[in-house]
């Protein structure tokens, strides 16, 4: 195994450096996800601005997503359309980028359009990225270029993390002075993990 040590160490080092900023992003977002009340107090969302206008016609396409895309193109807004709600007269949807939510509301009868912009800040930007692409609205997820790309970046990060953990264990095992205490710590982590699962289930 020792003949692979140098290769694995180099790969571990370079891959770790490559994904570390993204891991920091995910780690910070976990703290924001878990303590929304604290972060809302310290960094509240900035006041929304509302733009209202009236159009001659509403661009209607053969699917709701394409209609929503045509509407934001006409408004000059870019971002990921999160979900779409509609009834006979209204089509409404949030368009999100990390840190900004534009809530679009279009009245199909009188052609009134309103845009409510909310700046949620950098910390919530990390939670948005952490939650994307996510499990909801899978059929329309990745409707913006940056989330379509982010989907692949997230996969690369997760597979890299799995490689880093396995290679990390390999590298540790070949360090004779760290092996014995490492086994105790690995066992302690294992016991805590199993104990928590038993507590939950």
């Amino acid at each position: 195994m020792k003949k692979y040590y140098s290769w694995v160490r180099t790969l571990h080092l370079y891959l770790g450096l490559l994904i570390s900023p993204f891991l920091l992003l995910f780690a910070v977002s976990i703290l924001v996800f878990n303590h929304p009340g604290n972060f809302n107090k310290k960094a509240p969302s900035k006041n929304s601005t509302v733009l209202t206008t009236s159009w001659d016609s509403i661009p209607v396409r053969h699917t709701d997503l394409l209609t929503a895309k045509a509407i934001i193109l006409k408004l000059g807004i870019k971002g990921e359309i999160d979900f779409i709600s509609k009834n006979d007269s209204i089509i409404s949807f949030p368009v999100r980028t990390p840190g900004v939510i534009n809530q679009i509301r279009v009245n199909k009868l009188n052609h009134n359009v309103s845009v409510t912009r909310t700046e949620v800040g950098t910390l919530r930007a990390t939670t948005f990225l952490h939650a994307m692409p996510g499990q909801h609205n899978a059929s329309m997820r990745g409707n913006s270029g940056f989330i379509a790309t982010w989907r692949y970046i997230v996969d690369i990060i997760v597979y890299s993390v799995l490689f880093l953990t396995v290679s990390g264990v390999f590298l540790w095992y070949l360090l004779p002075f760290e092996r014995k205490p490492g086994i105790y710590i690995l066992a302690a982590g294992f016991l805590v993990f199993i104990g928590l699962l038993l507590l939950i289930f």
Binding site: L24, L31, P98, T122, Q135, V154, G182
Partner: protein
């Protein structure tokens, strides 16, 4: 090299190894469950369609249901259920709330006039439990001020926090370790700069460009 720096570097190296080993299983859990959440198209891991549902009727003393500040916990004790309580709605004649834990959701409806109630329970399979563990922190999108009200949720949320803090330490520690030997690993400059630029672009500049 000063003694203090030597000690710091040694401590950083040991921290990187031992903390990494300690949270190994937690990282695997969150990595695999994250993949499952992002890949709903992986049919082998579908859970909602394969959920088990059943209903249980019950009757509680009406005296327990009126003017009782400790209503939910007493009802849960009586029904022998535990979990994170959410969506409590008390209207004239009706009490509704949800009690959930990873892989298990119970919606409880009680007629407070008669004491008659029903529990609608959903149980998820292994994959559903895994996915819900990833998301189980006791917060609510609808009510950001909500904090966990079940001790197990509090412990699990603390575990997530610790995992996040350890990941931050591992990442920053890895930069220190690379910096020491940077002359032997020069591509590290490019890789770190590249990923910092891409990650910062996603966080700060998507809206501007």
């Amino acid at each position: 090299m000063g003694d203090f720096i030597r000690k710091f570097l040694n401590l950083n190296r040991k921290t990187h190894i031992y903390f990494g080993l300690f949270i190994l299983l937690f990282i695997w859990l969150f990595a695999v469950s994250g993949l499952l959440i992002n890949h709903g198209e992986w049919k082998f891991a579908s859970f909602f369609e394969q959920r088990e549902e059943h209903k249980t009727d019950f009757i509680l003393p009406v005296s327990m249901l009126t003017n009782n500040p400790d209503l939910v916990s007493q009802v849960n004790d009586k029904l022998k259920i535990s979990g994170e309580v959410d969506n409590l709605k008390i209207t004239s004649g009706n009490i509704d709330f949800r009690v959930y834990s990873p892989g298990k959701v119970r919606d409880i409806h009680i007629n407070s006039m008669s004491g008659v109630g029903i529990i609608k329970e959903m149980n998820y399979n292994f994959w559903g439990r895994l996915k819900t563990l990833h998301l189980f922190n006791g917060t609510s999108k609808a009510d950001p001020a909500k904090t966990p009200n079940w001790i197990v949720t509090k412990i699990w949320r603390f575990t997530m926090d610790i995992t996040a803090v350890v990941i931050i330490l591992l990442c920053l520690g890895s930069w220190v370790m690379w910096y020491r030997i940077r002359s032997e690993y020069k591509p590290g400059y490019f890789l770190l700069a590249f990923s910092l630029i891409v990650s910062m672009y996603y966080v700060f500049f998507i809206d501007l460009l």
